[in-house]
Symmetry: C3
């Protein structure tokens, strides 16, 4: 990829009608199709620049706040890599270290950390009904801060995983698919199986499967959502996916059989999650710090999970997919049978065959995040990218 390729991407970006400046990236379904495509194009342009040795650094200085309310390795590194690529310094807002626990309101903290801040990445996926709400509260506080002249500019909030959506994951996944199949349009009509899979752990958030069906349904894909009875996602998101699938010329089906889901699939995404009602029950227990209650809920949930150990992405199941060659996807880390656990989401031989694909899938995340930040801050992202290309400063002196 050289300068011409990048110019081509910028030209395509110019054709997109977008209104993202000063806005946050919280849910893919709040973004128009053009805005989704613009995000992919900016991600591709930034990656192409870096690969060509051209610095995509936008800022000379500036803070990117990192607010992780849950553990993370890959998203933390993706966010740090994205911010550093754009020239932002990542400052953790660690609520253990901070005074948030001492009665500070979200409103105040949002302003206090934002005087020289360009982006705020938030991961808050453990509390059903609260993560997305919190992110919006931060956004609203920032709007007020700008309106009252307290903040010189509006930092953009990037959802690094909420209770509802995981847009940096879903967008990276579909940018991967777009490159794998040679274009986003090629996904139309492709069958994707988003399937629950067995895991010996418990309490995995719903945001990945919700993010996948929430985005796949925008692209005219044939979606099959599969899970054992009782392992529901948030009902409103499933309904949304149904509506969106219809509108985009795709299809949406729900089944309680992994085999049925895999049948003829182009793409399979076997991944464990906790049932919606368990996630609901957890919230008050977490708030109360009710360890006994959480322990008991975990016990029940693991016992129930154990009934569905056969929900595994095995070689036999892969044979059911289109020509036996469906693309396997996972947000990683996967629970791999006989590798990371006795019985897990995927057979070792299947995972091995697709390992590099899953790594490539993950490699898009830093660029997707960087694109979200740039689009949330630039009035004319095509002009910004063209400026970087024209500047053509080297990323490295080596």
């Amino acid at each position: 990829m050289g300068a011409n390729e990048i110019k081509n991407i910028i030209d395509r970006l110019k054709t997109k009608k977008i209104d993202m400046d000063g806005k946050d990236f919280l849910l893919t379904w709040e973004k128009s199709r053009d805005e989704i495509e613009a995000t992919f194009l900016v991600a591709d342009a930034l990656r192409a620049m870096r690969d060509a040795g051209i610095s995509p650094r936008v800022w000379d200085s500036g803070i990117a706040v990192s607010n992780f309310r849950d553990n993370s390795t890959r998203t933390r590194f993706s966010y740090a890599s994205a911010c550093d690529l754009l020239g932002l310094y990542v400052q953790d807002l660690d609520e253990g270290k901070s005074q948030i626990a001492h009665g500070e309101t979200v409103r105040e903290t949002a302003n206090m950390i934002s005087f020289l801040t360009e982006a705020i990445g938030i991961r808050d996926d453990m509390y059903l009904g609260e993560g997305d709400k919190y992110q919006r509260e931060v956004g609203k506080a920032l709007d007020e801060g700008v309106a009252s002249g307290v903040l010189p500019s509006r930092p953009t909030v990037v959802n690094l995983q909420s209770d509802i959506d995981h847009p940096t994951q879903a967008m990276a996944d579909f940018l991967h698919l777009s490159h794998y199949y040679g274009g986003l349009d090629k996904l139309k009509g492709k069958k994707i199986a988003m399937s629950w899979a067995y895991s010996p752990s418990y309490g995995k958030p719903l945001s990945v499967p919700q993010g996948i069906i929430g985005l796949a349904s925008r692209l005219g894909m044939e979606i099959v959502l599969a899970h054992p009875e009782g392992y529901d996602l948030i009902p409103e998101i499933v309904e949304l996916a149904e509506r969106q699938a219809k509108a985009s010329g795709g299809a949406f089906k729900r089944v309680h059989s992994m085999d049925a889901a895999f049948q003829g699939a182009d793409i399979v995404y076997p991944k464990s999650w906790a049932p919606y009602d368990v996630m609901q029950k957890r919230v008050p227990l977490l708030h109360e710090g009710n360890q006994a209650g959480l322990k008991e809920l975990e016990k029940q949930c693991l016992a129930n999970n154990a009934k569905f150990k056969d929900w595994e992405c095995t070689e036999a199941r892969m044979k059911l997919t289109k020509e036996g060659k469906a693309l396997y996807m996972h947000c990683l880390p996967a629970d791999i049978t006989d590798v990371s656990c006795e019985a897990g989401e995927v057979a070792a031989s299947v995972f091995d065959r697709y390992r590099d694909d899953t790594y490539r899938e993950a490699s898009y995340k830093p660029y997707v995040i960087a694109a979200m930040i740039l689009l949330g801050k630039s009035k004319d992202p095509a002009a910004t990218l063209a400026g970087l290309l024209k500047r053509s400063s080297a990323r490295s002196a080596i």
Copy 2:
């Protein structure tokens, strides 16, 4: 604010007689009036540059050590923002993670962390009689390191809050006042009420009220320090403020009535702190790790606090101030009655009315810190700023 405004600031800076290069910023009363004003001017210049899109980045690389011996959100972010603005990378010196606990002397550590370091920010406010002492010990070690040729240059130490002063807070507060009233000279004769206020918490450091009276008394202001009997500050600091007030043509009065303090005040700063003698008693208990003793002291102290629940900044009290319109100030977070606690330092309606003002007050802190660092490192800060202005590189490619 454009280039002309910045040039004007630089011209005013040139008229100040200062000797700050190679020195630390530990206590405002160790700095001359010209040095205080120079710090404000540099802060204004840096802010104006950033607002105009001109990069105030001074360093291409360099370390800024962050040493927080107490929790902090806003000061941590202010320090990180300031350092990043100047081009420094913040590296935490976390004594939990480090080997300091294993017998390393301050002298050695100060040198070991400083080979490529430009600034060291230290917050150490919990141990009365020790915070300031520790900061001076670090400074002395750095002097020796430079003298012996171990260190290529002298990192500047910035007091991010000690047991005695909180200069980054006090300086931000008065830069806010200077802009609010249209100039530092306008503060002459203004009445400021630095008043204790009730809080349901305990052990708040003395450095904020001490910092406020220590700086207000330099500016010819009429200071009223108000607190219940027994809630003394460090006696030497109060005496210093009295002397300074006299010397600067201001006044200093001490009362045991919040009403008396608010009477006719232009500015009110109602803020809780722990009594001096309680802070003294805490130190050996903290050193011993005497949890039972600390618990008992807290109990006594909270019981005593509870006698003064009426020390609240209410609407009624605000009516006592000049035209009922005194400017309310707080270092944040405030204990707001019915918001962050049942009974606190300030009524919700008062705080609400001044919320944006307190946020603006806080917004000066990053620039004040950046100014302290620049002045501690530059032989000719006016020339340095003029160079940045002449360079006029853009802070952002957007």
Copy 3:
């Protein structure tokens, strides 16, 4: 040092035959003599540039991973300083915070953190037989990541201390010696006493003494390794040092007397370590989390240590060295008798006399680390340095 001096260093670098690009720096004895010298030259060049105010910044953006599996202040700061000097942003891989504990394989993590990463620094010295192995596993995973096209380039792994070697320490130590004596060649024939010394603590890793004998034996030095009976190092490393000493025209002797070691020594390095067999016994206990077992082992080990309290670097012993003026070395922090402990590795008066020398010794570490990174990433380091010199951008606007 000015531009001519730097050009001279670059010219000398051009004469070295090296193959370091794309390789890791794990053990000094895996590097050729030319590669060792090249590392010293690059370190000197980077330091000279910084001293001359010329920015040695190589990268405009890029991640440097910091993976410390053991506490550290000085190495952590050295690594951060080195990375920042080159333009890299340090992102901690904190296994407490990350998902590594949840079954992620090294292979996967190595790839996930490396999409935009240039360097990975790893400290893993507590588990005998595992630290070096882990670093190689990471390196292998990165090789595979590059081979499969997952990673755009190969991050270079720097050993920040393993169970076997501590190359950043040993290289800094010998760069210090090289400058102290006026050239690496001057070390030929010099007698260095690497001696165990008493410490009231326990479990200190073997990597420092192993690193010292592993590197001294490459340089034609006369090495005396001294320790009480039973305080062995890893036998293979001692044998390696013996072989290397012979090959380089030096000598290697092992004694059980500190006096014998100090006799006529040019350089003394008195430093505590835990016996090899104790370190072996610790590993399964650490893995089991067997606190009782570790406590018991510590008790035994401290009791045994106490028999050798006379293994102290005293003034009397220093008199035995060449003209009574041997250079004292230590990786710091030293256990100083009557300062950091009742009885320790070195007498206070001896340490005081050499304090500045030990600080200078430590000051080379950031530059040695920066050199290792640059050499691991640059195909033509002489050209890279010449480019930086030609660019001559100022490190600071002051």
